[in-house]
């Protein structure tokens, strides 16, 4: 680690940052974007990513404050530190964007994703699927004689791992919500 590799977010004001933005290492960051809940705001955010060539690995959105017309968009993106900084700044200048938080830069965040898995099969495979689901704390939310639908929550890695295990056992379909995330601790 170079001396410049001071933890991200360590300078609060934008004045002169100590981050090593020269690094061309690709990092994965989770951003929480609180927006005015108005038509087209999601299109603006997505348009920014496609228009400027940034990656979206996952994106979730839902209203979080009905009275206050606020929605929260959680975006998992990847890029060099310089690109991540630009993404944050570019999001910040969208008029209906209230706040942008880089949860990854701020320290470890709690990240969860929900997924539904439809697994078909009979006999041993079926039993094995059920056993693995139990280990992963997935719930059975639908079953027929030839299929299960499992509901699972966890980090994206955990869900990826579950998917790998289900594939040979007769995986028919998957639906994932994308990541929802919050920072740890008593503050925003």
């Amino acid at each position: 680690m170079s001396a410049l590799n001071i933890k991200k977010g360590s300078t609060s004001h934008s004045a002169y940052n100590l981050r090593d933005t020269h690094s061309d290492k690709i990092e994965r960051h989770t951003l929480a974007v609180v927006v005015e809940n108005e038509p087209g705001v999601l299109a603006r955010v997505i348009g920014l990513f496609s228009g400027r060539g940034y990656n979206i690995e996952s994106l979730t959105v839902a209203e979080i404050d009905h009275e206050g017309h606020r929605s929260r968009i959680t975006i998992v993106t990847s890029g060099t530190p310089h690109v991540i900084d630009q993404i944050e700044a570019q999001l910040g200048r969208i008029v209906p964007v209230h706040e942008v938080h880089d949860l990854t830069a701020a320290g470890s965040a709690v990240e969860r994703e929900l997924a539904l898995f439809k697994v078909g099969g009979k006999g041993d495979a079926r039993v094995e699927a059920l056993r693995l689901a139990d280990i992963f704390r997935a719930n059975v939310v639908d079953s027929t004689l030839e299929s299960f639908v499992f509901e699972i929550t966890g980090t994206s890695d955990k869900i990826d791992a579950f998917a790998e295990l289900m594939r040979p056992l007769g995986l028919i379909d998957v639906a994932r919500t994308g990541v929802a995330a919050l920072s740890r601790g008593a503050y925003k």
Partner: protein, 583 residues
């Protein structure tokens, strides 16, 4: 106080409340109720352009020359799509304009109705923000918010899309005075960062101010403060194309424009400086040239109101987010309170170096007694209009660069040009907007014949409103800038860069009842220019110039600042294959 009125009336009322005096527009089915209201009042003047693109450029010219937002009104569908180039132009150059578009009635949206276009979707990436207003009750506050957004922070274009039923329906009008907006970009710079910059200024041996359009955006106070700062510190100053006039060209510390076609001394100073202070400029690629060779030995500071401008292209040592005028005021206060320190000895050595670069006289050119050299034409225009109440617009191409190089600007808001998008066809309608804002001023559009033809329909507007704009066309019968690149980069294969079948510009003007002047002999040039200036009405001036003149200095694409071409002799095989992919 709440008042009930129709949406159409609200539009006009809100514009009045915002202090709008003139709007540029073109009617159509989806805006007829608004046109009705315009008909019924006399406070706001409507200028009927001949194409919606021109309405937007005229609004830009109005805005840039006054510091106030410009307003355009167009119909749905084709009216809105015709406005897109102007919107993108305004976005790139940070020009505050409000474009009102008509839309099909709300109950028909999404049905492919007659003249329906997804205006909000189409203009989303080319506006700072846009709104579709579905309820008349929300219309007036949306218009007030639109003015606020367009003019606050980094200025830009906004669109308000108003369905026809919303224009007819009645709703409550909200006064401007009661409008509160959440959108409040930060103006004051961080004091710690300002202190760091002051300390850098105190010890710098080779400092330079690199200023840009942000100084103009910030308003006249910013230019005043900049002048004070430059003159008090004695640091040299250069500016981008967009910032010309913020510091006077006659100023002692002025190095001229920098960048691809900037002056030798400006670019060399940028390359060799030890402290670069960027004030409201955005490290555009016309400025930086090859990024990794850009001013390699300097520490860099950047003052910009848009956080995303800082560290976007060039990593800086100090970034100060804030409005130029606010930051410069604080910077000056701190610097003065610490005893106005600069490294005098270092500075004087620095000025000696700069003096050597100035001796190159990079703008010299070989004049001719036979054909009019375009540089000479601009020089004469400068000499004969100097000291007048003068505003200049340009089209895009070589003539634009010659205008930037050979005209001198003493004040901000006097120079209107399409920098970021480089929109051919900008200058003529922009001159219309400028003239409306400054009816008694001398407004000249320095044009290339090809660009000018792109919006020449505005001759109708000029004739109708008797706008005395002067169209000074440097006619080289070529798409000159394209031809220059083909000469340097594509083996002189002049593919499609001829201006074929040109009109007789004098007759063309006369067909609109406008005065036309043609000039081809250098001996007649001064008299012809004087005739143009002295004519009380609009003039189309066809100035036949040298056809294959190249614009120098030039930093070829992909080259650093210290590898500038100064004239024909330098041009052989200069741009490598890597540079050729750049624009």
């Amino acid at each position: 106080m709440t008042r009930e009125m129709t949406g159409a009336k609200m539009v006009v009322q809100a514009l009045k409340d915002q202090g709008v005096e003139v709007i540029f527009g073109y009617p159509g089915g989806a805006v007829l109720p608004i046109y009705d209201e315009i008909f019924l009042q006399n406070d706001i003047r409507h200028i009927l352009v001949r194409h919606e693109q021109a309405a937007v450029h005229a609004a830009e010219g109005y805005a840039r020359s006054t510091g106030k937002p410009g307003v355009a009104l167009v119909t749905s569908g084709p009216g809105a799509t015709n406005a897109v180039t102007g919107l993108t132009d305004a976005l790139m150059d940070s020009i505050p304009i409000i474009v009102l578009t008509g839309q099909v009635p709300t109950f028909m949206i999404g049905t492919d109705a007659f003249q329906e276009a997804d205006t909000i979707g189409i203009t989303r990436p080319c506006t700072k923000h846009n709104w579709l207003v579905k309820e008349t009750d929300k219309l007036s506050q949306t218009i007030h918010e639109a003015f606020h957004v367009a003019t606050s922070g980094r200025p830009g274009p906004v669109v308000i899309d108003i369905p026809k039923d919303v224009q007819f329906a009645t709703g409550r009008y909200a006064d401007r005075a009661h409008h509160v907006s959440r959108y409040q970009p930060r103006k004051k710079g961080d004091p710690d960062a300002i202190m760091v910059l002051v300390k850098m200024m105190e010890t710098a041996k080779k400092p330079i101010f690199y200023t840009g359009g942000g100084v103009i955006n910030s308003g006249p106070a910013a230019s005043e403060l900049l002048r004070e700062l430059v003159d008090a510190t004695g640091f040299p100053i250069t500016s981008t194309l967009m910032g010309l006039g913020a510091y006077p060209a006659s100023g002692k510390h002025w190095l001229g424009m920098l960048g691809m076609h900037g002056l030798y001394e400006a670019n060399m100073s940028m390359h060799d400086c030890d402290l670069m202070i960027n004030i409201g400029a955005r490290f555009d690629d016309r400025i930086t040239g090859r990024i990794d060779a850009f001013s390699p030995r300097s520490r860099k500071a950047h003052i910009d109101i848009d956080p995303s401008s800082i560290n976007k292209v060039i990593r800086v040592d100090v970034g100060i987010v804030g409005d130029v005028a606010h930051v410069l005021q604080d910077l000056l206060d701190v610097w003065k309170s610490r005893g106005r320190v600069t490294d005098r000895k270092g500075l004087s050595g620095w000025w000696d170096e700069i003096a050597e670069w100035k001796k190159i006289d990079c703008l010299k050119f070989k004049n001719s007694g036979k054909t009019i050299k375009p540089q000479h034409a601009v020089q004469r225009l400068e000499a004969l209009t100097k000291g007048r109440d003068r505003y200049i617009t340009t089209e895009v191409g070589q003539h634009q660069m010659w205008a930037a190089q050979y005209l001198n600007f003493e004040d901000p808001n006097r120079w209107m040009t399409s920098g970021g998008l480089g929109t051919m066809g900008y200058g003529f309608p922009a001159s219309v907007g400028v003239q409306l804002a400054h009816p008694d001023a001398l407004v000249i559009n320095v044009a290339g014949e090809a660009s000018w033809l792109m919006n020449m329909q505005e001759l109708g507007t000029v004739a109708q409103y008797r706008l005395p704009v002067k169209q000074f066309i440097l006619n080289n019968e070529r798409l000159g800038m394209v031809r220059q690149w083909q000469e340097l980069l594509h083996g002189e294969r002049y593919s499609q860069s001829w201006s074929e079948a040109l009109p007789d510009f004098v007759k063309l003007a006369e067909a609109f009842g406008i005065k036309g002047i043609i000039c081809k002999d250098p001996a007649d040039l001064d008299d012809a220019i004087m005739e143009m200036i002295n004519h009380p009405g609009p003039v189309v001036f066809d100035c036949l110039v040298e056809k294959h003149e190249n614009c120098f200095p030039m930093i070829p694409s992909g080259k650093p600042h210290n590898e500038m071409l100064l004239g024909e002799a330098d041009t052989q095989g200069v741009i490598g294959s890597q540079g050729a992919v750049l624009v």
